[in-house]
Subunit: 112 residues, 2 copies
Amino acid sequence: MTADPCLPECGVARFLSLLEGPWATLIVRELLRGPHRFTELRDGLPGISPHTLTSRLRQFERHGIVIRTAYPEIPPRVEYRLTPLGEGLRDVLDAMAAWAVTVPDGESTVTA
Amino acid sequence: MTADPCLPECGVARFLSLLEGPWATLIVRELLRGPHRFTELRDGLPGISPHTLTSRLRQFERHGIVIRTAYPEIPPRVEYRLTPLGEGLRDVLDAMAAWAVTVPDGESTVTA
DNA sequence: CGGCATCCTACGAGATACTG
DNA sequence: CAGTATCTCGTAGGATGCCG
């Protein structure tokens, strides 16, 4: 990729530049179910490392897709919530899921 | 990622496992405009290397998203065309583009 | 609990060169 | 024209450990 500093003109490319890695979209999927705490997100995403989760979450914050709210309590509690912009991703995720059901099973990895 | 051998249950995850890298989706975008030859695809995707293009195209073939047709002519001509399954991705790409227009400009990279 | 710092790996991708 | 082969690189992501 050319690593364009500004957002690309093409809408698809713009989407891609904001939801880079494979985990990014999955995190949004979890957040679409409502606000989540850090550990709740980690539980809902088997295999993700806290490093990756933090990294994606911070990027989403910068892009205005999620809002991070820290409650100064003991024990500390932090809540991640989608912004209206982030909520708009629901249509995209729905489209992905709708398409996925049309994919025949077992044709990935060796068809053998 | 856990690198599950089978397609994930979650539709979103299934989509993600088939359209891995950032170029993958962009290639589909080009193909949605109709059948393309190798060089046409390369021209429409500034910055992509033949290696990457071939790699993604081959994967799409394996997953039944595109059909590769080689015409035994001189000079050789190869055409890549979306299968009905691949055509179904149009809704997803449309959703991405529709969402992207709601993203405010200039908030990516340093807000400064 | 909710991170952050550091180190390391895996893989998509770029560059270059060569072939049917 | 349409690739293939090799090598290197960038970056998402994993592992581990520590801190407020």
